[in-house]
Symmetry: C2
Subunit: 84 residues, 2 copies
């Protein structure tokens, strides 16, 4: 829960998640869309992975990142207690 909110508490990381809605992408492809260095994006991806919001798989020299939507259920569950 902590890692989840931490990961979401950054506009760049949220933008990465929105980018991944369109489908999996390599670290490099993601980095190109943002005006930050590759190491910075790599670090953001690491935090997203720690929160289990994305998964990664190595494909040759590329690393493909994929959105993991199952974690959102946990967040929805937390929110649900505040409903009504």
């Amino acid at each position: 829960m902590n890692a989840l909110f931490k990961a979401l508490n950054d506009p760049t990381r949220r933008a990465i998640l929105e980018r991944l809605r369109a489908g999996p992408a390599t670290a490099g492809a993601i980095a190109e869309q943002f005006s930050f260095s590759a190491p910075t994006i790599s670090h953001h991806l690491d935090l997203l992975r720690q929160a289990d919001l994305v998964t990664s798989q190595k494909q040759g020299q590329f690393v493909l990142y994929t959105l993991n939507m199952t974690v959102f259920d946990e967040l929805l569950g937390w929110l649900y207690q505040f409903k009504s």
Copy 2:
């Protein structure tokens, strides 16, 4: 959106929200439940108010804090785009 995720990215603040589910409470009553100083809790309440997650009204020398659940809809809306 930024203020919202920022406010939620702290276990003490989330616990305060959960406390307020039971009903409005004064700053002092809230502070008593946590082993932090009153100024620290006051600061947390300020961040929650900035995110519009709580509202406050002065009642005599007390300040009553109330959960504002309407903001959760904004969060649900953001989450919704990731569904399915």
